[in-house]
Symmetry: C3
Subunit: 367 residues, 3 copies
Amino acid sequence: AWKGAPVIEGRGGWSFKPRGRFNFDAGVVDAPSGTGVDDGFGSEARRIRLGVEGDIPGGFGYKVEVDFAEGAEITDAILTYGSGGATITIGQHNNFQSLDELTSSRFTSHIERAAFTDAFGFERLLGVSAEYLSGDVLIQGGVFSDNIEDLPGERWGVDGRAVYLPKIGDSQMHLGGSLHYADIAPADSLRYRYRPLVHFTDTRFVDTRSFDARSERGIGLESAFISGPFHAAGEAFWQTVSRPGDIEDADFFGGYAEVGYFLTSGDTRGYKAGVFDRVKPANPVGEGGFGALQVNLRYDYLDLTDGVITGGMQNGYIASLVWTPTDYTRFLMSYGRLAYDGAVIPAKDGETSYSVDSLGVRAQIDF
Amino acid sequence: AWKGAPVIEGRGGWSFKPRGRFNFDAGVVDAPSGTGVDDGFGSEARRIRLGVEGDIPGGFGYKVEVDFAEGAEITDAILTYGSGGATITIGQHNNFQSLDELTSSRFTSHIERAAFTDAFGFERLLGVSAEYLSGDVLIQGGVFSDNIEDLPGERWGVDGRAVYLPKIGDSQMHLGGSLHYADIAPADSLRYRYRPLVHFTDTRFVDTRSFDARSERGIGLESAFISGPFHAAGEAFWQTVSRPGDIEDADFFGGYAEVGYFLTSGDTRGYKAGVFDRVKPANPVGEGGFGALQVNLRYDYLDLTDGVITGGMQNGYIASLVWTPTDYTRFLMSYGRLAYDGAVIPAKDGETSYSVDSLGVRAQIDF
Amino acid sequence: AWKGAPVIEGRGGWSFKPRGRFNFDAGVVDAPSGTGVDDGFGSEARRIRLGVEGDIPGGFGYKVEVDFAEGAEITDAILTYGSGGATITIGQHNNFQSLDELTSSRFTSHIERAAFTDAFGFERLLGVSAEYLSGDVLIQGGVFSDNIEDLPGERWGVDGRAVYLPKIGDSQMHLGGSLHYADIAPADSLRYRYRPLVHFTDTRFVDTRSFDARSERGIGLESAFISGPFHAAGEAFWQTVSRPGDIEDADFFGGYAEVGYFLTSGDTRGYKAGVFDRVKPANPVGEGGFGALQVNLRYDYLDLTDGVITGGMQNGYIASLVWTPTDYTRFLMSYGRLAYDGAVIPAKDGETSYSVDSLGVRAQIDF
């Protein structure tokens, strides 16, 4: 078999497949000149991931991927055991927060994910989890420590997610919710912040700065709908931080709503087991076709201000054009107008309400 | 062919095989409260290794493996030339010290190796070596500089090892000895120390601290015996350090004795070419069996005190339970009661004789 | 197919191939004792590279390689699209400067490349380029930012190269030229310097030290000739640096001339698409032959002094012996006598004109 790379199969249930994904990004960020932000053109290798996955007789499996874009960082590194619709996973993996976060970066509708998924620090964690998929219902839950890069450490947490994913005629529905709790070690602090849509800049206009925290609680709601060339998706996420001593809890919020449409006929957004999946063009380049061309619009909201923590607020208006020439190649262009209130970088005369324009392009291959 | 991953073979003697091993560890360390050691629960990705090996027509071969658990560190990286029973190796590889060290971490009987192998700093070194295996005799020797991570540098050394490995009826005997010499660069110093059985803590109760050294001499004795479900092994290692000027040599010692037994019928410990090898369960999971279940007991001794160097002494009593569901999966649980004398972390009232309890579990897949 | 590693092919134009190259170096550098340079013996893993390449239906392709010799550094990381003789490349790749630089390190005639290619900082850069090969003419050009390791940053540049590569009877001709421009970011500076032939030392006898720069312009000329066992090659490279304010431009120069000859009959140096290619021994080891044995002589000149920048001058006389037992294995020995004028490390009595002897050996496997 071939899935971007050869799937080599042996007798008795063995399999082995190389994995990889490569994203090259470039673009511009344009902030009001009074901010002193010297941005303009930027570029980077956003992701350079190589890895392997495989099956082992007896129901076992593994997946490991390393990102070389900045040094070498482990992304997924898991051992699995599956039986029926149930799967047990040990290792570093996503802790079941947000449809946009759980959807692979290979299949997102914009160059970067929704602001709250980065701002609230969603990332892969070392842990043990179980999931069960039966008919239209998916249940996931696990206990987690921290990202391998941050271990040894004393952070631990519990996460759960449930999704109802019925197929109604030819349309795919998705309704889900997630709960998150993490105990923050006394020595650690939290910091929520967000880049202006593109990753090749290190400037953040919204930023809580570091603050002391005892624990973190998150509640997420997810919805999505796919029907032929059209899709819509929306999420809301409430993050609450317990602070030490008598300090009141801090409440933050983020969410987005998006619609997308394929201009090329016969194309639709992939969906599988509770997340968006690969787009497979009906008429790919190389077989006489043009590939799939999709436009997406997103409104992206983030509020990082509560009480004494004044991280700022963002209203993002984002449009993207995604060209998928073949199953395993993609070119994306995302434009965002990000309107800030209470931005942490003041513009002329101390003004903290202004807009930033951001444009990013990406070339992608995965296997 | 398939050995956990596909072995791809070409005409004329070509071969190519991916390699990997993944260890996820968790556990607890419990030290007397007076020590101020805040341990309790810990977890880590102990090893995340990916690599390749292959044969090249003409008798050449290579093996390379990188560990991504903490950044990216090269473990094995060798070119080989073989003819008859002789093999020449160039690159980073183990310098022929200790049966427990030379046995792959995939096949050890406890979650970590004997204390002296870590304490005396056994690790892979860049060097050139030759080995010869003929009938019941194995001879190995080479010259080595330093670990690639520590190069450029001026350390160099010589190592040799001989093993007599007759098969007596169905039983495997192993009797060996090794000699080690390393010249320490004037700018470098030595430090011998040991974690309490598990690797996810950075606390060491025995520790010589850094001391000046001119050279290092080691003598090791090895013995092992495998008969059906039963195995026994024991080693002793004398490490002597020449110190600068008129300071007397410092002598350190470590050793262990262990026995193990498979509770599942038909299982035995693997052995090959002077080291322990893979356990292949007689009745693996996935073919109606339970896999192999083995219990092991070890007494592990380490003395890091001599003259003015007071690194402390450890008497370790260790038990492990190793479940091997299939050839390429393992789950280990190791418990150790480590009795210290002259521990470098004093407990209440300056007491340096006390015991530490340590429990570790591991999930492992390799290919 | 097999090219050092299996080339796995799927239907519709898919392919996948692992890549790797391993260089283990050792040797000695002997400088006048008055310099205080404590060199003597050195060793290192010069390159430990692993990666993959592949084709994707529709004309797309990719190549990624990571070097693990010092941490994990991305070397090539590209996506390509090809049609007819034209290729578009996105990602990190060489920016078309110098035949010796563009020839893979697997196929160079000496242990290290010509001095100017290192001194002037030629390295892979993130960029977009196009190339066109038609008959005897190769045209290459692109725009580039910086090496991935140095991003984010504000460096950008333009590069172009043209080569005329006719075959005259059985002889291969090569005549080429390249132009280079790079805009240096205000915050950055330049530093040109060169190791004494071998890479395992960090000493540089010629070194401009850091100096402010606005931009960099380079002009290169290339020539080469291969006829049976004989080859000759020569290059010249003028590097001009625009300096800030009223400071005059700084001009530097480097170049080399070399000849090589195979002592084993039937062997010749490979050449392909504007660069030297793999040597495939007529009578390899393993098929009753000795492999290919080649001697090479090179004169290597570098001038890093102009105006107030006194980096020194080098006249290098270099001889190498290259044994290629099989297509994918090589052993090299390079000896260089490097005569310096204006060396930046003074010898006894402040003398800066002296010679350094350098000897390096390398064991290599690639696939």
